[in-house]
Symmetry: C2
Subunit: 138 residues, 2 copies
DNA sequence: AGTTAAATTAGAATTATTCTAAATTAGAAC
DNA sequence: GTTCTAATTTAGAATAATTCTAATTTAACT
């Protein structure tokens, strides 16, 4: 049983997430999930849709990305002020962030060990994000 | 020899950072560094300055914060899209992020163990940020 | 005091994102 | 297949954080 590609196609995936399979959601799901793990911004997805002749407004891109995050089909990654990345890899993992290029790269969670986690003074731990910031060699 | 409070006053601190000790920079350094460890936004600092009757424009707040980051007097922490926090604690450490309130809390680096760090495919590791995201208990 | 480069400023510009209200569409009911 | 209704999409305006610009002020040197 693999965690990868849990749905045969976009339609099934939207059904399972209880999102109406509209033209734009189907098209965006395909763009997002049929190319392996990606880290994409709203603007980039909008451009990809345009390139694929899928007419979809930027507002819908944002709506859809947030709905997908809510449905746990995507994860939002924040590494840069003023710009969100959406990660199609929803497995537990971490990131390299390359400061020069602004690119992200996954690090599977078994490649880093984070131990000795302190308990928060209140509330519950929802997630632990590790970002390794990488700069060009001095 | 402690790493804490390395300068007796704002003037010394600016001199060491090779920043001209102007009225605004002196006042902002005092606001930032004379109250222990803090996580503050540009807007908040602007409000504090106003409350202390220090006339300083928002542009200067931003300029100064970034200069301080460049001089390693501050660290920028990104946990939220579209808003930067500036951290007066420049020692190696990590953060709790409370999603309900938007507040940050320091975790000294000796309270978490991050081991087995993978090497990046190119470049050098500049920093490792661990953010523990905390939500109200379900 | 006079000079000059650095710093500050108000306000405009930019960027990412969200909101609004109108038009379209998916899916259920007939 | 039409009709109906609520959900979705949309263009464009609005917002929020930040950066830029060009003019003014100031720190520090002579």
């Amino acid at each position: 049983m693999s965690n990868h590609r849990p749905f045969a196609n976009a339609l099934e995936l939207l059904r399972a997430a209880k999102l109406r399979p509209t033209r734009q959601r189907l098209a965006l799901a395909k763009l997002l999930f049929e190319k392996g793990d990606r880290h994409i911004t709203a603007e980039q997805l909008h451009d990809e849709a345009a390139a694929a002749s899928i007419p979809v407004s930027l507002a819908t891109i944002y709506n859809t990305l947030h709905q997908f995050v809510g449905a746990r089909l995507l994860r939002e990654v924040v590494v840069n002020p003023g710009r969100s990345y959406f990660d199609t890899n929803i497995a537990d993992h971490h990131h390299f962030f390359f400061e020069e290029s602004g690119k992200l790269m996954d690090i599977p969670s078994d490649k880093i060990e984070v131990t000795n986690l302190p308990q928060p003074p209140h509330g519950a731990i929802r997630r632990v994000d590790v970002v390794i910031r990488v700069a060009p060699k001095g």
